[in-house]
Symmetry: C2
DNA sequence: CGTTCGGTTGAGCTTTGTCAAACCGCGTGG
DNA sequence: CCACGCGGTTTGACAAAGCTCAACCGAACG
């Protein structure tokens, strides 16, 4: 089963046709090396990317040489979706690890949406979800001390990773440098390191090099004021009726059946 | 002409039918007093709000008593859209000034979308736009000094206001306290004040009480590293063919001319 | 007129950043 | 196999940015 389908199945039960449609998003897999750039800020943004394996991240360079990491994309996520509404890419998209991603032209998105309103809704939901994630980042950046920021970063990542693998390890092998964590949290790399030591001193984590073991998940969650509700969408909003079977004309979308 | 329609016309030329549909979003106007709360974080979020007049803002309370202002909504904007995908409100929505807003049940959104794919696309665009705005906030919060943050805040606000009124005054009458600006920028109220003085010292603005005059827009924009591209969407992405007239099947650009 | 809210300003303190040096692990080439 | 160098981590000393507390001011409003 495709990566995206297996990921989406968590959201809605898909019809066969919808599965086919989703496969289309994955028909053009490409491999990128660690640290390869998929596209740069300001470049034309005519595609978005489905992550099959590996991690991506989006960042923004500032004129003074600093940069802000905005998002990390894990397998099953769709990167670059916000650029559907922009001609130019707002951020640089880059591979954290070796990764396989499938570019998909945003122009074809409307076709897809015409065929399945439910997939349309689903993408709407993804955008709303990313929105919620960004809100959480803002709260994290604006209101928290360095150790709290870091705690939030770790807890969120662990939460997202565990939902990905459906296995809940308390060890996170971070493929990213402390400098990059700093760029995500608005901290210097040095201070990220010190904050790690602080969390260690609080017996919340154990950490050596790029490996973090969570000792006290509850305590870390409390310190981070982490509330995972922003990662749990309201699936009921999605239309639960499946795609209209052949021969019937669907409500609103006449002749939808023609493509089935 | 309705508020929303006049706002949306900037994005796409609307058919009569689409205008009618948009009117539906404004059929239930309600007045709120300055500082009134429209809905609180955690409460059920079954509606979103079209702003007719006045300003709204969304914020998030932290357990330690601080709060993060996430967004300011100006007339013609749609507030609470990200909650379409969540059962509970992720933020508290509140009136900055006396305001008139129209609640619209999110459940009826699918009806609307079924009737017009273009409106569906438009809302998709709004969500992407809000996404881009949040990205900009993150960069602002993560990478900039206090005066730079403030400069960005002012320039963005002025840009959005001028596009709203189609008149470009260099004076901003801020209906918000310095404390609230601080809550938006992750600064203390005191430091907001000092940063205002700093900008004044640089002869970029003149400020007294809650009134700001922009003396050197170019300089302020430079300091803020403000690039308005995130406020200028790609309208071409939207389907330009109008709603399908009754009796016809609407794939592609057939009959595009009818409504334009 | 008095109260209240927000703006302004100063003094001292805390958090975080900067710079610099040492360190560690790993891959590479001799 | 070993030496070297590179990328990343760790630690210390010091500097800068921003916060807190506290006092005062001025306008708006009952």
């Amino acid at each position: 089963m495709s990566c995206l389908v297996s990921h989406f199945r968590r959201y809605i039960a898909l019809s066969e046709r919808e599965k086919e449609l989703l496969q289309a998003l994955e028909e053009d897999p490409r491999s990128y090396r660690r640290k390869a750039t998929l596209r740069r800020e300001g470049e034309p943004a005519s595609t978005f990317f489905t992550v099959m394996s590996g991690w991506l991240y989006a960042y923004r360079d500032s004129s003074d040489g600093s940069r802000q990491v905005l998002d990390i994309y894990l397998p099953g996520q769709v990167a670059g979706l916000r650029e559907v509404a922009y001609q130019q890419s707002l951020t640089t998209l880059c591979a954290v690890t070796d990764a396989v991603v499938c570019p998909f032209p945003k122009a074809r998105l409307t076709e897809l949406f015409d065929e399945s309103r439910r997939l349309n809704d689903l993408f709407f939901l993804f955008l709303a979800r990313e929105n919620a994630l960004l809100v959480e980042r803002i709260v994290n950046l604006g209101q928290k001390s360095a150790p709290e920021k870091l705690a939030h970063f770790l807890v969120e990542l662990q939460y997202r990773l565990s939902h990905l693998n459906s296995e809940d390890s308390d060890v996170i092998r971070l493929p990213i440098s402390q400098e990059m964590i700093g760029d995500a949290l608005g901290l210097s790399a040095v201070h990220v390191n010190r904050s790690l030591k602080t969390l260690q001193g609080l017996r919340l984590i154990e950490q050596h090099r790029s490996e973090v073991r969570i000792l006290d998940a509850a305590g870390l969650t409390r310190l981070a004021a982490f509330n995972p509700s922003y990662l749990n969408e309201d699936h009921d909003w999605l239309r639960i009726d499946p795609v209209v079977p052949p021969g019937l004309n669907g409500n609103g979308a006449a002749l939808r059946s023609s493509a089935l």
